[in-house]
């Protein structure tokens, strides 16, 4: 062994670098950089793609100092529960300081991927101005910018390949941003503007598509009508990924017939989404390509009901990824189970958030899917009810789950038949699925389920808990047992100071911990913050002003703690208190 290591050290750095070139995953590169100082040095100069899971864990200056050749940067901002309105919009996660540092650092940035961050038009303009080679911008669940910022990107990024906007809140400034792509722009490979609410110049869009011969992925918004889509498809039969806009039209018209023809020619489309505004009677136009599809997202179409969904899905025999609303029903899921034998990922979202109708799915649908789709490894399932028996059967049928997320409409609903807690069901899941990395549990759950999780979920990296458990023992089981835990988010559980403080060092091995409406007190949070200087312990207190003399015994409404190398952040708003 010793001689082997010595041999590798005598390799010239170029050889090491060449070997490291084959390492694309940041985890592999992180591991390699810990082997020895020379490997660290070689690796840091050769790393081009950097992933930062929490933008406050490190500063842009230190990142650039370590990775001067960075060309692609991924940043994540707000904690996950921000998706459900639990975190105020101005909590933080600003990209501006990052971009300013990157500009100052003369980094040759080509790719920027942001999730849950605050992005301003100014940030986008900086990007557009200072990075002539900029190629790829991916914004997921971000906000703070307008179509003016997009116009800057379109106008100035001459080699732009990818503009991918997913579920962002973007203010429409009616500036015809899409028309800002110059005639010389032919480099686009991927364009996704589904989340934009405003109009785009359809003629500009058609011309853009026509001249970008490498365009593989196009997802348009609601303002692009069906007949425009037809003209676009006629120009781009090479598309691999299509997101339709408005899919409403009178099926008895020539426009619609032309669409059917154009659609048939798109023999490369394997991914289909959109249907933001859809008339079920227009769906048959996509039947010809159903057999090619590996990915289908119908989760933006609350108006399509089970019968029509099923008519579409039963042709999708190669489907690997399906996103639907619970309007599909248990019976519809039965059809999925018998038609989509290659299915790997399924997400069944809630269609009826305010409880007006009664369209949810139950444990029946889940069991049917597990029985029919042996390759299933990832599921998100919103359901009316669940049983232990069903979960046990699912665990037996599908031992390959990497992601298992179940959400019952009533957060503390017991087993629908036995009225028992759902501990045994989830226990079966973690016991059977040895590679489980992400788990969300719901329903009536006691400390027992956490005992199971701690004992069996050895690969678990992310756990989401709500309204579960009886005592600190629950949380302790998880912290002690789940060695690979990275993110833990807890709301409305009876976990308190004993659990929080039992193993403070654990939190430095994790990215973050969120606890809201639990039993932890200010005093305990202060203790934790004092003892662990490399953690930021933030208290989010929207209602009251932060007072210096707060009672230590008072319970904390929302606490978010995360490991960091750069101490308390300086951009925290008034209602966030870093202890």
């Amino acid at each position: 062994m010793h001689s082997f290591h010595s041999m590798l050290n005598y390799f010239p750095e170029e050889v090491l670098e060449h070997i490291f070139d084959f390492l694309t995953s940041h985890r592999d590169r992180n591991a390699v950089s810990l082997v020895c100082k020379s490997w660290y040095a070689v690796e840091r100069f050769s790393r081009e793609k950097v992933f930062v899971g929490n933008c406050y864990a490190i500063s842009p200056e230190r990142l650039i100092a370590r990775f001067p050749r960075v060309r692609s940067l991924t940043l994540k901002g707000k904690p996950h529960f921000a998706d459900f309105n639990l975190v105020p919009n101005d909590w933080g996660g600003y990209v501006q300081p990052w971009i300013e540092s990157i500009v100052r650092g003369r980094v040759n940035l080509e790719e920027l991927r942001l999730k849950r961050m605050l992005v301003s038009d100014e940030s986008l303009e900086l990007l557009a101005t200072f990075f002539p080679n900029f190629k790829s911008l991916v914004l997921v669940s971000c906000e703070g910018f307008t179509t003016d910022g997009l116009a800057a990107i379109a106008s100035n990024c001459r080699f732009l390949r990818e503009l991918d906007l997913q579920e962002n809140e973007v203010e429409d400034r009616r500036g015809q941003w899409l028309s800002c792509f110059p005639d010389s722009c032919t480099s686009l490979v991927s364009l996704n503007f589904t989340c934009l609410k405003g109009e785009v110049n359809l003629a500009s869009l058609e011309r853009l598509v026509a001249r970008c011969r490498n365009l593989r992925s196009l997802r348009v918004n609601n303002a692009v009508p069906l007949d425009a889509l037809q003209r676009i498809l006629a120009q781009a039969p090479q598309l691999v990924d299509l997101g339709t806009g408005s899919f409403v039209h009178d099926p008895d018209t020539e426009s619609y017939n032309k669409l059917e023809t154009s659609m048939q020619k798109c023999t490369s489309i394997t991914s289909l989404s959109g249907f933001l505004d859809v008339s079920a009677r227009c769906l048959p136009a996509v039947y010809p390509i159903c057999g090619q599809l590996t990915s289908l997202n119908l989760s933006y179409a609350p108006g399509i009901y089970s019968d029509e969904l099923v008519k579409l899905i039963c042709y999708c025999n190669r489907l690997e990824r399906l996103l639907v609303l619970d309007t599909i029903g248990d019976k519809g899921l039965g059809v999925v189970a018998s038609s989509c034998k290659e299915l790997q990922e399924l997400r069944v979202f809630l269609s009826d958030v305010y409880g007006i109708g009664n369209t949810a799915v139950t444990e029946e649908g889940l069991v049917a899917i597990s029985a029919g789709c042996p390759k299933l490894n990832s599921i998100l399932y919103f359901c009316q009810q669940m049983t232990n028996e069903a979960l046990i059967m699912v665990a037996k049928n599908c031992p390959n789950f990497i992601r298992f997320r179940l959400c019952t409409l009533n957060p503390t609903v017991p087993d629908a038949i036995t009225m028992q807690p759902l501990d045994e069901g989830f226990g079966a899941i973690v016991k059977s699925c040895k590679d489980l990395k992400r788990l969300s549990i719901s329903g009536l759950l006691t400390d027992q389920v956490f005992l199971y999780i701690g004992r069996y979920a050895k690969q678990l990296e992310m756990l989401s808990i709500a309204f579960a458990g009886d005592s600190d023992k629950g949380m302790l089981s998880v912290l002690n047992g789940c060695k690979k835990l990275k993110k833990l988010e807890i709301r409305d559980c009876p976990f308190g100071n004993v659990a929080l403080l039992a193993d403070m060092g654990k939190y430095e091995t994790m990215r973050s911990l969120w606890m809201s409406s639990c039993e932890v007190t200010f005093g305990a949070c202060k203790t934790l913050a004092q003892k662990m200087p490399r953690l930021n312990v933030e208290i989010i207190n929207e209602n009251d002003q932060i007072e210096a003399s707060v009672d230590d015994k008072q319970k904390v409404e929302k606490m978010y703690l995360y490991r960091t190398l750069v101490g308390p952040r300086k951009d925290a708003p008034g209602f966030v208190w870093t202890l």
């Binding site: 529960f81 998706d83 459900f84 309105n85 639990l86 669940s141 579920e167 962002n168 809140e169 989340c195 609410k197 409403v248 505004d277 008339s279 009677r281 989760s299 933006y300 609350p302 108006g303 009901y305 979202f349 809630l350 269609s351 009826d352 958030v353 305010y354 409880g355 007006i356 109708g357 009664n358 369209t359 919103f382 009316q384 959400c407 409409l409 009533n410 957060p411 503390t412 609903v413 017991p414 629908a416 038949i417 009225m419 009536l444 709500a466 309204f467 458990g469 009886d470 709301r491 409305d492 559980c493 009876p494 409406s517 319970k555």
Partner: protein, 188 residues
Amino acid sequence: MAQENHLNLKETELRLGLPGTDESDDMICSARNNKRAAPESVDDSVPKANSTEKSSEHETSSASKAQIVGWPPVRSYWKNNFQPKKVESETRMYVKVSMDGAPYLRKVDLKVYNGYPELLKALENMFKVSIGEYSESEGYKGSQYAPAYEDKDGDLMLVGDVPWDMLMSSCKRLRIMKVSEKGPGCAV
């Protein structure tokens, strides 16, 4: 009838507060004070698991469910852009509904429904009839009743032919028509 059901179920309703706490308590507070119903009260709710009462239970507790911040965990992006807003915050669209043979008319707010299935289910509940399944070629099969609406031109149209949005913008009133078994062409 619906009122009675509501009263009967209230006491055994599966809630997050202690049994006996006032329903007007802030849901967030009651969740903190007592994380879940104790096992005894869970047993009390055994009859609620019965599927015949499932739908009314869902309706009565759904209003209080919706008050828990962030539950169910639906992405706010989706909620803001694809979910019809709560009725209070939008203008309503009440239309009269008549049924052949019924002594008085009813009114429904079309904005409350996401689409045809929900509207038809609501009409079936309201008038205690079964409406049958829509088919383009045969109208509503399998029942004596067919839903129709009066459009802007005053014509009587069969419900279901046009996209839901189009119905919403053109429907002036609804009428549940009694049709003979031979089909809609022989309306009584």
